[in-house]
């Protein structure tokens, strides 16, 4: 339970640490063109009074509009990317094939996002916990979980995290998330979980 709560705190901490925060970006982005249009309007009004500046002013207005559109598009893209990254950061579990300790291609983006984040925010510490399904002995599965955690850590470091930011632990088959005896349960249990902690 404690870990769950800690996990939720770290999500909000992550949001706070990564700059700028996603919601603010999203709401300020559409507002940007309006602001620049208002400025342009006042500029063109003042241009109308001084006749010689008119063509230049209209060119300026078009250019400003284009720049504003580009900025808006870029801001939107940035916001989308940030949102996507945060969505990836929300995903804190990666999965493994049976008796395999290598990460899957499907989890590459998730690992990249967490690795980059750890690299950016050096105050963050992460713990990777490795788990296994029940098909094996408890001790073999403890060893397998340790290798899954270790490989997950390696990938996070390759993605930008510092070695000292990440600790690993294995619980083997001891803490299943699904208790059935079929592939759908086993697939959920063959996992590594990334959790965050604040540096002491």
């Amino acid at each position: 339970m404690n870990k769950l709560i800690l996990g939720m705190i770290t999500v909000s901490l992550l949001a706070a640490c990564s700059s700028p925060a996603p919601k603010e970006t999203a709401s300020s982005a559409p507002a940007a063109p309006e602001t620049s249009t208002a400025a342009d309007t006042s500029a063109s009004t003042s241009a109308a009074t001084s006749s010689q500046a008119t063509p230049a002013a209209s060119t300026d207005t078009a250019a400003a509009q284009a720049a504003a559109d580009a900025a808006a598009a870029k801001a939107k893209a940035d916001a989308d990317a940030k949102a996507a990254e945060l969505a990836l950061l929300d995903k804190r579990t990666v999965y493994f094939d049976t008796n395999v300790d290598a990460l899957q291609a499907a989890d590459k983006e998730t690992i990249m996002a967490h690795g980059k984040n750890l690299g950016k925010v050096s105050l963050l510490k992460a713990r990777v916990a490795g788990y296994a399904d029940e098909r094996g002995s408890s001790e073999y599965n403890l060893a397998l979980g340790q290798r899954r955690a270790k490989n997950t850590k390696k990938a996070l470091v390759a993605a930008g995290a510092k070695d000292g930011q990440i600790s690993t632990v294995s619980y083997g088959e001891e803490k299943p998330v699904a208790t059935g005896h079929d592939e759908s349960a086993w697939a959920q249990n063959r996992r590594a979980e990334i959790s965050y902690d604040i540096a002491k």
Partner: protein, 420 residues
Amino acid sequence: MLRIYSFFFFLCLTQFARAELTIEITGAGEHQTPVSVLRFTGEDESQRISEVVANDLARTGLFKLVDPAGRSPRDANAVKYAEWSGVEALLIGSVTQQEGDKLVVTFQLVDTVRRSELLKLTVSSKKQQSRAIAHHIADMVYERLTGTPGVFSTRIAYVNRNEGNYRLVVADSDGYGEQALLNSKEPIMSPAWSPDGTRIAYVSFEQGRAMVFVQTLSTRERVLMAAFPGSNSAPAWSPDGSQLALVLTRDDSSQLYLVGVDGSDLRRITFSDTIDTEPTFSPDGKSLLFTSDRGGSPQIYSMSVDGGRATRLTFESGNSFSPRYSPDGKNVVYSLYSGGNFSIVVHDLESRQVQYLTSNALDKKPSFAPNGKLVLFATESSGRGILATVSSDGRVKQKMVAQSGDIREPVWGPFIKAMN
């Protein structure tokens, strides 16, 4: 390295008066000896010693318990042998309570075929230990009739997992007399009895990762044996009790190490870059069996305790785990995962023959009884982890169902020194 813990908070030694397990027996020995256990005169109806003795004998599958049908000779001299033609042995006993809380039990084992007395003994104990006295009598009867020492007085250890609560439990071999050695919110794994039965080594996650503790049963004192970075697990005692084999991940992936029980002279003995785990000593202490995936899949290997080359032992199709020697060192029992099922398998080291003892889909973690006649293992019944035993010839199976929670990681303890 060595730290002694006092644990007034999380250790609670609790004894339950009621039965924790329901026992179900299937199969029968090749030759069942018909025996009759008479009610002991003077025994407490609520704690019948004769009933415990009869149940012990029945569980082996080697005996057919014949109902005395009202016949109740007071002693061997009063036996009318003509009445007992279908029975080969009779157990007759009497119980007297002495001042204080002392029980004195006198029993006679009579051979109804040769019409002779096989055993006549008087044993005594405290009244609260009537089950222990019954197991002791059953051991003597079993040995006299089969020539093999009985294991009814030995104990077993296992982990009970119940809704996120873990208990390390020691119980009588019939599952009664549960005592919790450790209660924890974090997993407990791999209990291992010291050869003299006075201590148990185990893995506990109470400090956030797998660490090895050694606990003395009588004093409840315990020592943190291994807390290196990473996982510390799979403790196994050397037969002389002086060393432990352990699995550590501190240098690499899971590798085997030896360490003195006093924490001295830690040394690494495997150097693979794969998983090496579940070490267990041969009865002569010279070699180790362990599980390794160095060949691509988890299999059983053997190696000298001095290290060096390991030899692969298992070549069955599937994955092999959790090896254990038989007490005479001639056989190895392990858990084989093949075709979607975990089975308990015995490998004869001389003939290299493999025999399936069980196949219940989830049979794991086998260990021999100290007389080599039974194998204890973990299995599942109706969605719950339970204890089970199978005779070493595979004929007689017994399931023990816990009242609550999942039972995991069972291990049969050694013979204990004569009771006082």
